[in-house]
Symmetry: C2
Amino acid sequence: MRQISLKAALDRAACADDFAVLEIARPACPDGGILVRNVHLSLDPYIGPRLRGRHMGEAPPAPMLDPVPGAVVGQVAESRSPGIVEGDWIHSMEGGWQEYSAIAAGAFRKLDPAAAPLAAHAGVLGMPGLTAWAGITQLAKVTDGDTVLVDAAAGPVGGTAGQIARLKGAARVVGIAGGPQKCRLVCETYGFDACIDYRSDGWKDRLKEALPDGASVFFENVSAEMAMTALSVSRPYVRGVLCGLTGASPSAGPAPHALNAGLLIGKRAQLSGLVVYDFYPHWDVFAEEASGWIRSGKLRFCEDRAAGLESAPALFEKLMRGENVGKAVITVSKEAP
Amino acid sequence: MRQISLKAALDRAACADDFAVLEIARPACPDGGILVRNVHLSLDPYIGPRLRGRHMGEAPPAPMLDPVPGAVVGQVAESRSPGIVEGDWIHSMEGGWQEYSAIAAGAFRKLDPAAAPLAAHAGVLGMPGLTAWAGITQLAKVTDGDTVLVDAAAGPVGGTAGQIARLKGAARVVGIAGGPQKCRLVCETYGFDACIDYRSDGWKDRLKEALPDGASVFFENVSAEMAMTALSVSRPYVRGVLCGLTGASPSAGPAPHALNAGLLIGKRAQLSGLVVYDFYPHWDVFAEEASGWIRSGKLRFCEDRAAGLESAPALFEKLMRGENVGKAVITVSKEAP
């Protein structure tokens, strides 16, 4: 089978040429676990720092040996796990960039393939969706009348966060995204009330105009600097979720992570750090609620999908450059084998 | 009567020579308000930035015209306020460094002189105490089993915060203070389990040892840098209260206010900005609860008291240098006239 691995250790953002396609033996089914035929592979921003060993203290994958990490939606090819049989569908954070994965007990969730399109489990029902749901419903606890500001709003986390905020009663949802195409997606498909293009002149003034009464909640997905911009257009007592620092350049020092404590105090901000790992126990509850929203058309998503494992490096480079629109998903193999 | 005013506008930390004692006419009793004979005057760190117009956007007091701002405990000399009569005791944030103050309706609270020593209303029952109570009970919501870390622990805010944390069920209370004398006060008088002297070598290692299971709550009273130290010895999900930045040098730029967003996220920190103004409506509730603790000996306090209005500049300089031990209070005139 094929696996994609790093050619060498990295100390900068990855580009497509940094990856090698290896031919290796298909792994055996582990004791108590499963062997999975990977169908959809999720490409996510955290993989960037993860490859450099800069994500949650995890060691980077060994070059020319380990697969690049990534979540997968796949079908069970062999099971030594009670209650799981060949043909079942699963989601796992431990799949990796390869055609088949050996997945240990406890490292996967069984899916209902009828609940939603299978690829949705890589995005809106996968880790990005769970992140959005956790921030909006469990940390910010968005409720009736809130005004919610979300950045990276065209991305799968931001776009889902704004929509869930609306579903939970937010009166106004405003996004920030890069470029007119992304802003159109945010307003027209995700139904935000406004979306401000941070690449346009005078965008901070327009952001202020789009929030005449200030934000009562912000969901921060880009950088500490952007969080400070969000705070500056927020009401006192704003609830802020610090979710990711995807926009922080890997080469820059600590500055992009700096929050101004004086401004936080002045705004009486209530900040929460969000690490989605903590919410894995809630995944089934979230996925059931969100599957219903998808089926009824209330929660929309958009994919940037490419076919074939070998297309992963190029799509990943596009993701790292912020050029993709919609959730980056690689369809590794056909849904029906 | 005498009033103390700034000699000239300030753009640095104040020292004793920056103040002038003026002889001015005693003010008239305002319509609907009161004229107060000031008895105890509270000197607090916020006055430092306040004199430079760097506190909550408030304009600095006019040199040679306005009194230096400060909270007072005083006795009503004349009343045009319903329900208040000559001889009543009040607390006001609007008193200032002067012998008599004209105080508008709504800008004072009536005190029960039997509830606690009168000077206590300038400290442990005054704004410093309310700040401590608000942070511990209303924001961090300290409860049974918490481990609470407090810095500036010898000060009236920190010392009171640690004691209230204990009264609310904290299992372990650890302080940070500057110098062995302050650390002894924190442990022996305020009853903290440990107090680490941040001026001693290897203090961060000893702080870690004093918190073997990490802090579940920290009350930050000094600087963003100290908040990051607190965070580094905290458990995941720590609730942090950002209360003041008294330790940040007025000449330094934004750096001392910088919080590291990556560390906040990694610790899943729950941060709250605290501005004590917001809790003024709770003052009577707090003061009643805390007066009971004082009477029963469960809440202790320590004063650095000087007599005579003219002693305010020197004590204020001592406060600005962090050299005072206990709440800085000027007794302007005798309790019994």
